[in-house]
């Protein structure tokens, strides 16, 4: 099966010690690698203000991970772990590979078009001028 790209964000209570968050990240990473998946990136965004109150909290410690996996099952396990962990107040997993594929396709198409007609701006300029005089 092809590999898919996922975003995983979770929010911890702001009063959790950093060591505990690191430990949580380590256990998640371990669970990911057990299923032959990869952790592409781990980012700790730090304490941010929440847009609304979650479990009576106004702030939260955000952790952002990018995962590459071919097992959808893995996320059941990860989400179960996050749910069970008391310090985690909210989490979100988003599958992103299809959107990124679309983005690459569009970018490639744009590049190709620009390569084919590099002097697209030159004939457009007098037309824009005309339009400007017509309005003014």
């Amino acid at each position: 099966m092809e590999e898919r790209l996922y975003d995983l964000i979770f929010i911890c209570r702001p009063d959790t010690p950093e060591a505990e968050i690191d430990k949580l990240i380590a256990t998640l990473t371990h669970a990911v690698e057990e299923k032959q998946a990869k952790v592409e990136k781990v980012e700790k965004w730090g304490t941010r203000r929440l847009a609304y109150r979650v479990k009576k909290l106004r702030e939260g410690f955000y952790v952002y991970m990018v995962l590459r996996s071919s097992h959808g099952e893995l996320f059941k396990e990860l989400e179960r772990r996050l749910r069970v962990t008391d310090s985690v107040v909210k989490y979100l997993t988003v599958r992103l590979d299809e959107e990124i594929k679309r983005q690459e396709k569009l970018s490639n198409r744009r590049e190709k078009r620009n390569a084919r007609r590099p002097r697209k701006t030159a004939p457009a300029a007098p037309g824009a001028e005309q339009a400007a005089t017509a309005v003014g």
Partner: protein, 115 residues
Amino acid sequence: MADETRAPQQHSPSHHSSSSSGGRPPGGGPGGSRPPGPRRGKRNYVRKKKVCRFCVDKVDLIDYKKPEILQSFVQERGKILPRRMTGTCARHQRWLTIAIKRAQNIALLPFATEL
């Protein structure tokens, strides 16, 4: 607005071909009966054409992790602004709503402001 002013101009050469529309710049004014300058009607302003901001910046992927960008497409109370207000094109608006809803889910954007 632009369409309204241009529509009568297309008719004018057929009605009186020789007199008018000779040296006029395109879109200068309808017919010729009305004096130039502001119109007498209620809407005597030219509405600025809104352009999709994502198209201008050539955005192919709207990132839900950047609430600063999404914030400007949301009302103060948290509602998503319609296309007619922001000028976003249909395709980008479609992506934008998805991004906003994801951001709401992870508390980067509010569903509604609290009292």
